[in-house]
Every structure is written in structure tokens, then in C-alpha cells.
């Protein structure tokens, strides 16, 4: 088995990849740390009150005074973004938690249960797939009213079937793996194999999925905000900011461009971190 890969000393190659990637990693950790601080103690980072009206300074562009400009009521957009972090992250993390929990249950039943049950659960996953997330969100909002919780549940359920399939695939491939067979050959019990090998290995890629999903959930939630299914004002959740800014796009671009960039930045940082964690988990065992 001689290929270009094995010619190279494997350790050196992955070490250099890791080092190169480090810049991106540190950058994304910095960004995430900023957002974490903003979520926990927004007062530390904000320059203004997020709700205070300043009607004489409405719709002013970014300046030293107002880093991200002001909105139609003269509220400081930067401070609104900072104060909106908690709710946005809550939506991202909450939706991911809901989604992954559902996916874990469905995915592991589909992979581990007896044929009939597994088949039934597989159909449930398919039905979830076929059911439009938009409709789910609209219906949930009608029942629960528009709130962060509604977005969490809607996005969580909406993205669950995809993850359920991934988890199912992971468990199945772990089940078929050489190390599980080796454990069977060693005479280990079914439960021991499940607990020691199948579950931990199937769950491992979830770390990356989770970070990917956090960013993606916020993007999803911003779509719901566009459809008027966002959080209640004056909360400045980013999706809601984006939605509120749309009337003003031609005259006050910052109101829509900046929240959009903030969402993309978070999604990017979370995704980058996730990719790195995945890399480390897959290659870093040395």
C-alpha cells in the first residue's frame, strides 16, 4: 500500500495542518468569547441602553458615537446587537439542544431497535422531513405565540430529522465496525459493547454538528422573524433586528447589513470551531 499519503510522515502532515488552522481557530474563539460575554453581561460591552429612545438622533449612520449607527427611534444599534446576543444564542443553542435530543432518540431507535420498530421510526423521520418547517413554525407560533421559545421548538423540530439520519448512520457504522466485532469476539456483553463502543463513537461527530447547528439555527430563526414570527419587541434578537431594518434598507443600509453580518460572523465562527473540534477528535489522538 504505497500512495503519496503514506510516503509522507503522517504525524508531521497533520501537525502542520493543525498549526495552520490555528489562526482561524483563535479568531473564531475570540469572536465566540465576545458573544459569550455579550450574552452573559451585555452591560459590559454595550455603550448605550438597548431600548432608550433618542428621537433627535434617529437613523444616523455608524459614527464614533454610535458604532453601528442608530435605528428609526434613535436607539444604538451596536448596543441592541450586544443585548440581542443572549436571545440569539439562546435560540441557537436551544434549537440545537431540542434538535439533537430528538435526533438522538429517533436516530438510535432507528439504528438499534428491532426491524419493525426501526422501520416505523424511519417513517417518522421521513414524515418530519417531508413536513415543511415553515408550516411547523407558523402553526407553533399560532399556538404558543411568537417568542424565542417558539423559534427554538420550531427550528429544533425542523432540523431534527436531518440530524436523526446522521446519528442513525453513525450508530449503524459503529455497529458494523471492526472494533465492535473485536469486542464481540472478546465475549463482551451487548450492553457493554453499546456503552463502551457504539454510543461514544456514534456521538463523537455530534460536537461538530452541534456547533454547525448553532449558527444555522440563528439563520433559520432570522427567516422566521422575516415572516413576522420573531420574538416580541423590544427584544433585539438579531433576526428581529434584521426584520425591523428591512423597511429602511435603501436609506439606512446599516440597519440590515450589520445585523446580517453579525449573524454570518457567528455562524462562521461556530462552524469554524466545530470543524476544528472535529479535526482534533478525528486526527488528534496521539
Amino acid at each position: 500500500m504505497t500512495s503519496l499519503r503514506t510516503v509522507l510522515p503522517a504525524g508531521a502532515a497533520s501537525r502542520s495542518i493543525l498549526r495552520a488552522a490555528a489562526t482561524g481557530l483563535y479568531l473564531s474563539i475570540t469572536v465566540l468569547a465576545f458573544f459569550a460575554v455579550a450574552a452573559i453581561v451585555p452591560g459590559l460591552l454595550a455603550t448605550h441602553s438597548p431600548t432608550a429612545l433618542d428621537l433627535s438622533h434617529s437613523l444616523e449612520g455608524p459614527s464614533w458615537q454610535h458604532w453601528f449607527g442608530t435605528d428609526e427611534s434613535g436607539r444604538d444599534l451596536y448596543s441592541r446587537v450586544v443585548y440581542g446576543t443572549r436571545e440569539s444564542l439562546a435560540i441557537g443553542i436551544g434549537a440545537t439542544a431540542v434538535s439533537i435530543s430528538i435526533a438522538l432518540v429517533l436516530g438510535s431507535i432507528a439504528a438499534l431497535a428491532r426491524r419493525f420498530v426501526a422501520g416505523a421510526v424511519n417513517r417518522v423521520i421521513e414524515i418530519l422531513f417531508a413536513f415543511p418547517t415553515l408550516l411547523l413554525a407558523l402553526l407553533l407560533v399560532a399556538v404558543l405565540g411568537p417568542s424565542a421559545m417558539t423559534q427554538i421548538v420550531a427550528v429544533g423540530i425542523g432540523t431534527a430529522p436531518g440530524y436523526a439520519r446522521i446519528i442513525r448512520g453513525q450508530i449503524l457504522s459503529a455497529k458494523d465496525s471492526g472494533y465492535v466485532e473485536a469486542a464481540v469476539a472478546l465475549g463482551h456483553s451487548r450492553r457493554r459493547i453499546l456503552g463502551a463502543h457504539i454510543v461514544p463513537n456514534a456521538v463523537r461527530p455530534l460536537v461538530a454538528i452541534i456547533t454547525l447547528s448553532i449558527g444555522q439555527s440563528i439563520v433559520w430563526a432570522s427567516s422566521l422573524a422575516f415572516l413576522g414570527l420573531g420574538v416580541a419587541p423590544p427584544a433585539s434578537e438579531w433576526g428581529a433586528l434584521l426584520d425591523a431594518g428591512r423597511t429602511y434598507i435603501t436609506q439606512a443600509w446599516w440597519l440590515i447589513v450589520i445585523p446580517g453580518l453579525v449573524i454570518v460572523t457567528l455562524a462562521l465562527a461556530a462552524t469554524t470551531l466545530g470543524k476544528h473540534i472535529q479535526n482534533i477528535l478525528e486526527k488528534g489522538e496521539k
Binding site: 429612545l53 434617529s58 428609526e72 416580541a232 423597511t247 435603501t250
Partner: protein, 546 residues
């Protein structure tokens, strides 16, 4: 795909691109020369906001649309005077209990059947039997029967006097349709393409996109306040549904539309500067106002209601967010364009936080919690304000309500804004006294008779769910009823004003801003005007110039 170095670079590029493209943009708005000549025919592409389910119905979006297709008995002119349309003359009986309408001769519906007394009588019964729920609300309790006197004379019999009947009949909810069409065609056909005697005929409805209205070549029955007679000047109206306001303005700029409805306040000055014709009409009737729940919760105390009113600088909020386009309205009863408007009621509460604070102290809300909200007997002064987001309250409205929330907070009110989605809102969410403390909303009407709908008592055998304050006040109702049945205009207006003042003094409802109907029209299109009953666009007199 360019090599993107960083997000910042991208954003700057985008920002610049947008700025550059917008500043230098006049799109299709090429101003015609001053000696522009009228050209015959053509298609008006009109960008409207919302697509209703049917052309004719009880919703204002439907009224705007059906106005083009269906004629009313009477029309309201610019001076709020009722003028002839299908009816040439009308007259109440001395006891005010029956009205006789004499119709224009020789007018036919577009299906060829005559516009006669029988058709008109049929329409009255049709509205009352579910054909138009809004018409039904207006006539309920007054209407008894419609009687055919002869081919061109119809008599409307009432249960009690209703001097403002003719005024109300100017709204498009009272459009006269072909009896034959209503009785022989399917509900679906009457929904999508009702048959009236109007200047235009529904040709095709491309659901989700537009409705094509063709000129009625044989049109003979324009209202008396129209600028010309005979058929309309243009061949076609392409009535497009463009729900996104940014897109709507963009289509006007790019020349893809000739006129658009509901111009965002932020775009107003710009468009004006670019030679577009801007039309604005404050619809009469109930303004966007806040009603207090007088049946339950903190606002049962009049002092608390007044404190809330004093805590707000409504004018400043409205004028900033409305960018000078949306008019401030202090009157909680009717808007400034409504006959019988009371300025006194409008000016009663100006921004006075001191007064608000002392009123709240007096009402027993004299403690504050850590967030600065007032507390009484361990209960926080929290009030729930639900609003129909995206349906009743648009984006500007939502911003204004957030301003209200923030200002009320300063004196210790914790206002909980609840955006209610359309389905829940129309499903009756937050319609009960226990569910809300404040209610916002408007109701277009041609006169102060709207007060009757909004303030009539809600009694077990005759409930009034439109009474948003949940107020059963016989005094107020008696003022309004008196006014309704008074035929002398000045006397009637005085009574209506009395009712408005009563509402203001007891702080039952406070006004916030007036509901506007706005149009932006490209320079090449002339002669567009807004009808004054509801502010809808009128294209009958419109023509293109070159």
C-alpha cells in the same frame, strides 16, 4: 466569484454598491415635458400591498379593488359631501325611517342586466345575509327592508332613524352587483370576478401575482365627483400584489410600476424629490388608537389611564418615526378628517411625566421595584398590549408602539408588547378582558358614526365585540345614539364631539396616529386621485402623458 478577503471588505463593497446605485437612481421616473400630451389607452401597472381572497368583501383591501369594478349608489366628494353615483337623488322620509333612492336610467351591469331597483334591493338583503360582513355591521340594528317602488326607485326601510345612511353607502362595501350574477353564478366566480357596473371589468386573476382589469367600454355611470364621463382613459389596469415595501418602491423607481400603494415614510421625501406625485389621505373613522380595558386590571382606575396618557410624548414618537409623513393623532375617538372631529379631545393629554407620576402615586401605585416599575400590593404595574403584527399594525406602527412602551416605562409602566400573528389575531386571541389591558387598532369610516360601532354597550342579548374598552357606559352610548339620529349636521357634530370629549376626559381611549392611505405615482401618469370614503386609488380618470 471574487476572492473575498474578509467580511468587512464585502460589507463595504455592498454598502457602497447600494449607496451608489440608489443615489443616482431615478429609474422609470423620467419626467415628461411640461407640454406633455395625453396619450390614449395604455396599461397602468399598479403595485398594491395585500392580495385579498376575493375582489368584493368586507376588508379594506377588497374595498379598494372592488371600487374599480363595482359602482355604489352614492359617492363622497373631496368636501365630504355625498354626491350622486348610481343614484341620482335620495331623500329620507320625514320620520327618518325610510329612504328613497332614484336611480340613473339606462345603466347596465357588465353582464348586460340593468341596474334597477330590484337589483339594488337584492344587494341590500345580500349584504345583510353574509354577503358583506362590514356592510352588515353598519346596517345591523337599523335596516328593516328594501322595497322596489318602480324600476328606478328603491325604498330602504329602517328600524330607527339613521341620518348618515347615505354617507355610509359611499364605502365600497356597499357596491351594487348584478343580481343575476349573484344568483346564477358560483360563489367562486362571484369571488374572483364580481359583476358590477364599474369602469373596469375583472378579466383575469393570476393568483399570487396580479389581477388584470379591463376597461368597461360602455361605462356610463361615473360618480358625480369624477373628472370626466364615458369610459376610462386607459385600457387596462394591471393590479399587482407586491407585499414587500422595499420591492414596491423599487418597482416604481425601475419603471415596472406606474403607481404604488402604501409608500414607506422613509421613502417619502426621496420620491417627492424625484418628481413622483405623492398622494396622501388620512382616512376618516377611528384612528390608530389605544383603548384601555375598563373592565379588568389596572386600567379600571381612571387615574391610571390618565397617567398612561400623560406619560407619553405621542407626537414626538409619531413624528420621528413617521418622518413627518404619518400624522400624529391625539383623539382616541375619530381621526382629524372625520366630520365632527373634536380638537379639544385631541389636545387633552400632552406629555407630562410629573402629572403621570402623581396620578399613579394617588392611585396607590406608589412603590417601585428594582427595575423601576411601579408596584401596588406586591403586584407590578404590568399591562399587556397585543397587536396584530403585519395585519393591523405595520412596521412603522410596531416601532411607534415600542416608543410608547419605552416612554411609559419612564413613569413605571411595564408594557408587555405581544405581536399576535394574523391567524391567531383573527382567531380571537386576546379578544377577552382577561387577556389584555390595552388594544390598538383603526377602523375606516366616512363619519363619526364609527363611534356607535366602537362604543355601543355590549349586552348579553346584543353583544358588541367591537367595544375594545369593554365599556358599558350608557351615558356615552346615549350621546352617540342621539347624534346618530340627529339629522341636522351641526347639531349632530356637536353631539359626536361631546362623545369624543367624554372618551378623552375619562381616558377611555387615546389616539396615536392617523391611518394613512398613500400613493406614489410616476410622472408619466396623470389624473390619479384618492376617493375620500376610504382613500383608495381611482384610476378612472387616469391617463398617460408623453
Amino acid at each position: 466569484m471574487p476572492t473575498m478577503k474578509s467580511i468587512t471588505a464585502t460589507s463595504i463593497a455592498l454598502g457602497l454598491a447600494i449607496a451608489v446605485t440608489l443615489s443616482g437612481c431615478a429609474g422609470g421616473g423620467q419626467a415628461p415635458a411640461t407640454d406633455a400630451k395625453r396619450v390614449s389607452g395604455g396599461t397602468i401597472v399598479y403595485g398594491h400591498q395585500q392580495e385579498p381572497a376575493c375582489v368584493f368583501g368586507g376588508w379594506i383591501e377588497q374595498a379598494y379593488l372592488s371600487y374599480q369594478v363595482i359602482d355604489n349608489l352614492v359617492s363622497l366628494d373631496a368636501n365630504h359631501k355625498v354626491v350622486p353615483w348610481l343614484a341620482e337623488t335620495w331623500k329620507p322620509s320625514d320620520d327618518q325611517l325610510s329612504w328613497t333612492f332614484t336611480l340613473k336610467k339606462g345603466v347596465t351591469f357588465t353582464d348586460g342586466t340593468p341596474v334597477d331597483a330590484a337589483a339594488v334591493a337584492y344587494n341590500f338583503d345580500y349584504w345583510l345575509q353574509g354577503g358583506n360582513s362590514t356592510a352588515e355591521v353598519w346596517l345591523q340594528g337599523y335596516y328593516r327592508s328594501a322595497e322596489v317602488v318602480d324600476a328606478t326607485t328603491v325604498r330602504i326601510n329602517l328600524l330607527k332613524p339613521y341620518p348618515r345612511l347615505a354617507d355610509n353607502l359611499t364605502q365600497s362595501y356597499f357596491g351594487i352587483q348584478s343580481e343575476k350574477a349573484l344568483t346564477t353564478r358560483s360563489k367562486e366566480e362571484n369571488c374572483a370576478a364580481p359583476i358590477g357596473s364599474g369602469a373596469f371589468i375583472v378579466e383575469k386573476w393570476n393568483r399570487g401575482e396580479d389581477i388584470i382589469l379591463k376597461r368597461n367600454k360602455n361605462y356610463t355611470s361615473p360618480p358625480a365627483n369624477a373628472k370626466h364621463t364615458g369610459a376610462a382613459y386607459v385600457d387596462t389596469i394591471d393590479w399587482k400584489f407586491i407585499s414587500d415595501p422595499t420591492t414596491r418602491v423599487a418597482t416604481l423607481r425601475s419603471g415596472e410600476t406606474n403607481a404604488i400603494y402604501d409608500v414607506p415614510a422613509i421613502e417619502w421625501k426621496n420620491l417627492e424629490g424625484q418628481k413622483y406625485q405623492l398622494l396622501k389621505y388620512v382616512t376618516p373613522g377611528r384612528p390608530q388608537q389605544i383603548s384601555f380595558n375598563t373592565a379588568q386590571g389596572p386600567f379600571t382606575d381612571e387615574k391610571v389611564r390618565q397617567a398612561f396618557a400623560y406619560s407619553l410624548n405621542r407626537r414626538q414618537i409619531v413624528e420621528t418615526i413617521g418622518r413627518g409623513v404619518i400624522p400624529y393623532e391625539g383623539n382616541g375617538g375619530v381621526s382629524q378628517t372625520t366630520p365632527g372631529y373634536s380638537t379639544k379631545a385631541a389636545d387633552l393629554y400632552s406629555y407630562d411625566p410629573k402629572k403621570a407620576n402623581s396620578l399613579l402615586d394617588a392611585a396607590g401605585w406608589n412603590q417601585k421595584d428594582s427595575s423601576g416599575y411601579r408596584v401596588k400590593d406586591g403586584k407590578t404595574l404590568e399591562v399587556v398590549l397585543p397587536y396584530g403584527a403585519g395585519s393591523i399594525i405595520n412596521a412603522d406602527g410596531a416601532s411607534i408602539l415600542q416608543g410608547v412602551q419605552e416612554q411609559a416605562k419612564a413613569v413605571g409602566f411595564k408594557v408587555k408588547l405581544v405581536p399576535v400573528p394574523q391567524s391567531a389575531f383573527f382567531g380571537g386571541a386576546y379578544s377577552k378582558p382577561a387577556e389584555r389591558d390595552l388594544a390598538v387598532g383603526y377602523w375606516t369610516a366616512v363619519n363619526a358614526g364609527i363611534l356607535y360601532i366602537n362604543w355601543r354597550q355590549s349586552l348579553p342579548d346584543d353583544p358588541n365585540y367591537n367595544n375594545a374598552a369593554f365599556l358599558n357606559d350608557p351615558t356615552l352610548e346615549s350621546y352617540i345614539l342621539q347624534a346618530n339620529s340627529t339629522s341636522d349636521v351641526a347639531e349632530q357634530n356637536a353631539l359626536y364631539q361631546k362623545a369624543q370629549d367624554y372618551i378623552a376626559e375619562h381616558a377611555l381611549a387615546i389616539g396615536v396616529y392617523d391611518r394613512l392611505s398613500t400613493l406614489a405615482v410616476s410622472p408619466s401618469l396623470k389624473g390619479v386621485w384618492q376617493e375620500t370614503a376610504q382613500g383608495g386609488p381611482v384610476f378612472y380618470d387616469a391617463y398617460f402623458v408623453k
